[in-house]
């Protein structure tokens, strides 16, 4: 099991869904999980300490957990099948550890409310993780390679034309 933290929650301009990026604590791998808007919002609200007038479904879940004195030990992203992630909520029951099947979005929304760690199974991380999206390029030789296509494009421009051809100027 690999412990992760919520690196970011990203919205798409093309769909109402959101993407939660879970980043491993001891490494650079990230696991993107697509979640629906209500669950994404519920996670964002809590992380940003935004006050809501009335408890959201997850606030209710958290207050039920607290009232029942359930000790949630962790949330686990345990499987990936048919393009769906499966998660589970783990807690200390009467007879040892119990687990409840849940969607990752629900598990994460509860984890941020009861302040428990989030883990990802090793093989899920291996199958579905990506390198950190949008990581800034390091300032070494690789960086120049990364922008090679852009350099080529710059080189292909005939900047001498700029002054001579007024028609291309923005109005």
């Amino acid at each position: 099991m690999i412990e992760v933290k919520i690196e970011s929650i990203r919205i798409s301009l093309m769909s109402p869904n959101q993407v939660i990026i879970l980043k491993e604590l001891d490494g650079e791998r990230c696991l993107p999980i697509i979640v629906a808007k209500p669950e994404g919002d519920a996670i964002t609200f809590k992380l940003n300490h935004m006050e809501v007038l009335r408890p959201l479904s997850f606030d209710l879940a958290a207050s039920i957990i607290e009232s029942l004195e359930a000790k949630i030990s962790h949330v686990l992203i345990k499987d990936l099948r048919n393009n769906h992630f499966f998660a589970s909520l783990h807690f200390q029951g009467d007879s040892g550890e119990a687990e409840i099947d849940c969607r990752p979005s629900d598990g994460i929304a509860i984890a941020v409310r009861v302040s428990c760690p989030i883990f990802v199974e090793d093989d899920v991380m291996q199958k579905a993780s990506i390198r950190q999206p949008g990581a800034s390029a390091s300032a070494d030789g690789d960086a120049v390679d990364d922008v090679g296509a852009f350099n080529d494009f710059i080189g292909s421009l005939d900047l001498g034309d700029l002054d001579e051809d007024d028609t291309n100027r923005p109005a």
């Binding site: 879940a61 039920i64 957990i65 029942l68 409840i100």
Partner: protein, 162 residues
Amino acid sequence: MVEVKIDAIRVTMMGSRAVILKDAESNRYLSIWIGETEANSISVQLQGYSLARPITHDLIVSIVRDMGASVRHVVVCDMREETYYARILIVNRDGKELSIDSRPSDAIAIAVRCDCPIYVEDEIMDKHSLVPEEETATLADDDIGAFKDFLGSLDLDDLDKK
């Protein structure tokens, strides 16, 4: 407390949802605006759809059951500044009653999964419920006079000839 049944979930043209609760004993209705997600959650359960994955309210009910607790009832208990308030009464494994603050939508979504009663406080029902107007009695001849005139003016013999 008045026991109510879920009469309907309505969607307005603007996309807002309301759950309509009907007094189990009389012809009074209480309409409460709820969110789309919660409305869907109540609908899928009432219609007996089985979803591929548990949704949030399924998870909440699993937590309650796995902790050896049960939901006794839910009650819409207050209305302040245009907002309804509810409470969920949970009995823990030691038989102790816990009353938990909730939005009515979440409380109802949980009630339909636990098959437990839904109540509304008397005061709320008295103040905010609606009684539908009596259906108009059978139409009198006068009311359909214009329609009768129209029928009389038709030359139905023409029908066969054409």
